[in-house]
């Protein structure tokens, strides 16, 4: 052993100091240095992963919101069209109704007027007839006075003739 170079033979003193030094450095590094570095890196990794996840979620949310807003817009447009259509329809209906009502009213007035006219005509005819009968009688009386006396039978006869005349016309 003693003929070998000293680097080939373990030395107690060096071993002692080396062990001491190594334990010190191991203790300090294992307690303060390596965990700080590895945990920091792991935390950073987690943070990055979370950030990516959040970004993805936000993107998805944004896409959903966009889709929703588009749907809403489309619905609103449809509703608008619907409302416009309905309003137009209602307007047309009102006009049509008003027209129908006006027509009905006019027809009713016309009918009433016609009825009135008919009544008036009737009355007038009646008057005229009685007047004609009166006049004819008077004329006939004047004519016949001379020939005929004032006779009731004759007058009824004339009345009947006149009615026949009227029916024929």
């Amino acid at each position: 052993m003693q003929n070998m170079p000293s680097i080939l033979t373990p030395d107690f003193g060096l071993l002692f100091w080396m062990l001491l030094a190594f334990l010190v450095v191991l203790f300090v590094l294992a307690k303060f240095a390596f965990p700080a570095i590895t945990s920091a890196v792991e935390e950073r990794k987690r943070f990055i992963d979370e950030s990516l996840q959040h970004a993805r979620e936000a993107n998805e949310k944004l896409a959903t919101i966009q889709a929703q807003s588009e749907t809403l817009l489309r619905e609103a447009r449809e509703q608008q069209a619907q409302i416009l259509k309905e309003a137009k329809q209602t307007g047309e209906n009102i006009i049509a109704e008003a027209r129908a009502k006006a027509q009905a009213e006019g027809a009713k007035d016309l009918a009433a007027a016609k009825a009135q006219i008919a009544v008036e005509t009737e009355n007038a005819l009646h008057d005229i007839r009685s007047q004609v009968a009166e006049l004819s009688l008077q004329i006939a009386e004047k004519v016949v006075r001379t020939q005929l006396g004032e006779d009731k039978a004759q007058q009824a006869y004339i009345e009947r003739l006149l009615a026949e005349q009227e029916r024929q016309s």
Partner: protein, 359 residues
């Protein structure tokens, strides 16, 4: 292309200038050093542990940093603490019955005793270890403070802290977690990370030729022995039931394990060969690197002893080769730290096999 040639020219010019410097320095050197250089002694001496930190020899005087010697006397059982300069400037004097025996690895012995006294002196390697630890702690406490002051939202670090983070995370995730498995790696990660950075810093500091670096620490078997032992303990203390079953009752034909326990004996050897391989690999690699660089440096001094011309020309060659070796060692410093950590992690991973059924 043109730029490249220009660049090359500059390098050549640099080497020539360097050679000229040697030419000027050579006569002075030749005048002061008469005895031939003992390469083996020089190389081994630079790689060995020592009681003082030798820096240079100037005009025959050793310039070195004296370090404290702590020994327990076998004579009276007391601890003696004194400065290594008490052994004289060339370390040949006797102080209070203690002397450095150059015949027996240059260790301290006591007069009248053949056995070594208990010796926990603060040697060159011990000082180097504490310097390295100071560097390690400075680096990692700086980094840890950076993280303490910030939240994950503040983003990733850049610059030096970022570099350390990348290194730590690649060792932690790609090496330790990958070799041991998600389930158990947390128990071993601090130890393996510490080993990696300790070896890396020690290897790199060993490449600096002057104080505060240059001591051959990872090329000393004591250090690699300690690491291998700790890994051995981790493997065998935390090894699970499946691991021990594979050692004593492996999945082989019964005749290979029943009357003569052939496979169990081989497996039992395996327990010790794995950490032994770890120990020797790191030690031998670092030792070899240091030895080659030191030998190439010795070439400069040997060739100058022949004559100045040979010295100058071969020094230039040697210089280029040392440069190459230093760059290679820079790579090796990392690779060996990585390999030691990886193999430790792999062996630990093998001690935690998942229960599997026979098909």
């Amino acid at each position: 292309m043109r730029k490249y040639i220009l660049h090359n020219k500059r390098i050549c010019l640099g080497i020539m200038l360097l050679g000229l410097l040697f030419l000027v320095a050579a006569p002075t050197y030749a005048a002061e050093e008469k005895e031939p250089i003992d390469v083996k002694e020089a190389v081994l001496g630079h790689m060995s542990d020592a009681y003082d930190w030798h820096i240079t020899t100037w005009n025959g005087h050793h310039v070195s940093i004296p370090l404290p010697v702590i020994v327990k006397s076998q004579r009276d059982g007391k601890w003696y603490t004194f400065c290594s300069s008490r052994f004289g400037h060339d370390g040949k004097e006797v102080y209070q019955g203690f002397y450095i025996d150059p015949e027996r690895q240059g260790k301290i012995y006591e007069e009248g005793f053949e056995t070594r006294p208990w010796d926990i002196s603060i040697t060159k390697d011990v000082v180097q270890i504490w310097i390295n630890i100071f560097i390690l702690l400075a680096i990692f406490i700086t980094c840890a403070r950076w993280y303490k002051k910030r939240k994950p939202q503040d983003g990733a670090p850049g610059g030096f802290v970022g570099m350390i983070e990348v290194l730590v995370m690649s060792i932690n995730d790609d090496l330790i977690k990958a070799s041991i498995g998600e389930k158990h790696y947390r128990r071993y990660a601090p130890y393996l990370l510490t080993v990696f950075f300790f070896i890396l810093v020690t290897n790199l500091m060993g490449l600096i030729p002057i104080f505060p670096g240059g001591a051959n620490v990872t090329g000393n078997i004591t250090i690699t022995f300690l690491f291998a032992t700790i890994t051995f303990l981790f493997i065998n203390i935390f090894g699970n039931r499946e691991y021990w079953k594979e050692i004593f009752w492996p999945d082989v034909p019964v005749w290979m394990k029943c009357p003569v326990p052939l496979m169990p004996v081989i497996e039992l050897f395996g327990i010790f060969t794995k950490p032994f391989a770890l120990m020797v690999r790191l030690f031998a690699n670092m030792l070899a690197g240091h030895a080659i660089i030191l030998s190439l440096t010795c070439v400069i001094f040997i060739t100058f002893q022949v004559n100045a011309l040979v010295g100058t020309s071969l020094s230039a060659v040697s210089f280029v080769m040392i440069l190459f070796m230093d760059l290679l060692e820079l790579l090796v410093a990392f690779i060996q730290a990585y390999v030691f950590t990886m193999l430790s992690a792999v062996f630990i991973g093998m001690s935690l096999p998942e229960h599997h059924h026979k098909d």
